[in-house]
């Protein structure tokens, strides 16, 4: 039966790790290391938490490797997309800002 085919991981241990990592994440926001260092730490923590959920709660660790590859593909695509979009942030002449609506009389 499926219930016995793979060993159940220690779910409570995973729960506590996730809870502690969430507290660490919130603490990182208050650290004075600047946006880039804090941001990198937050990204690493978020990916770690997501990987724990996928590996243990979703049993991905106990599935075939091909299934894991299917599961990882979207993350790869999204990461690539970030790098495709990011040049806009650094190589445009001016960044966009909210354009205030023109006063009613200024219409021509």
């Amino acid at each position: 039966m499926a219930a016995e085919s793979h060993k159940h991981p220690n779910y409570m241990a995973i729960f506590w790790i996730l809870a502690i990592l969430t507290v660490v994440e919130i603490a990182v926001v208050f650290l004075p290391f600047g946006k880039i260092v804090n941001g990198t730490m937050l990204c690493v923590l978020a990916v770690t938490k997501a990987a724990l959920v996928a590996a243990y709660f979703m049993h991905l660790k106990f599935e075939t490797r091909t299934l894991a590859l299917i599961a990882i593909t979207p993350l790869t695509i999204a990461t690539l997309l970030v790098f495709v979009i990011l040049p806009d942030a650094f190589f445009v002449d001016h960044k966009t800002a909210n354009v205030k609506p023109a006063p009613a009389g200024a219409k021509h």
């Binding site: 809870a19 937050l42 978020a46 299934l67 970030v82």
Partner: protein, 210 residues
């Protein structure tokens, strides 16, 4: 159905495809859910990547941490992690043949999801009253509100769908003659529910903390 008998059945009918799912021998349904989730993850990944791109190209993006606040959302994050635990507990009890306990934990999971959506409705109402709208806000880039409502709304819809899915599964567990008969279906439900939790972990980090 064992591998040997299903294979024999497939060959006797002249079927070309294997009767068993090659990646998830337990069921085709599980593979189906994984493929759906991979597609859904591309949707969320694209939304979050676009969010990052628009935020990086904006000169007046408000500080989300200051505008949105994180006390309530941190509690909501914790709630979703708890509901993931009640979900695995439901499956564990079903595996041990205790239908009543499995149904109780499925109900706890659905309740956690319902409270989450309730908190989100409260948060949205509060933010809308303070001036955060889908097409503008008093703090800066109007896309801040657009992306906020789009992405948290898309996730909230997933949670709402998950609550309905979980409640439906309580019915399935009740109707099936033996606990083992609904094990696979509840496991597939769990995949969806944990995925919704996983996505929230990402959304919480990228839209509230960063």
């Amino acid at each position: 159905m064992s591998a040997a008998t299903s294979h024999a059945a497939a060959t006797s009918h002249g079927a070309v495809e294997p009767a068993e799912s090659p990646l998830t021998p337990e069921s085709w349904g599980k593979l189906g859910m994984w493929i759906f989730l991979a597609g859904d993850a591309v949707g969320f990944g694209t939304l979050l990547a676009a969010y990052g791109g628009m935020r990086a190209t904006s000169a007046d993006w408000p500080n989300p941490y200051e505008v949105l606040g994180i006390n309530l959302t941190a509690a909501m994050t914790f709630l979703l992690i708890c509901s993931s635990v009640t979900m695995v507990k439901a499956l564990e009890w079903l595996g041990r043949g205790d239908r009543a306990k499995a149904k109780m934990f499925l109900l706890f999971t659905a309740l956690g999801g319902a409270i989450f959506v309730g908190c989100q409705a409260f948060e949205w109402t509060h933010l809308i009253h303070r001036g955060l709208h889908i097409n503008g806000n008093p703090w800066g880039a109007s896309l801040f509100g657009t992306t906020f409502f789009l992405i948290t709304g898309f996730h909230g819809l997933h949670v709402t769908g998950g609550v309905i899915y979980l409640l439906a599964m309580i019915g399935v567990v009740s109707r099936r003659p033996a606990p083992a008969a609904s094990y696979n279906m509840v496991e597939i439900t769990g995949l969806y529910w944990h995925f919704v939790d996983l996505v929230w972990i990402m959304v919480f980090t990228f839209m509230y903390l960063l």
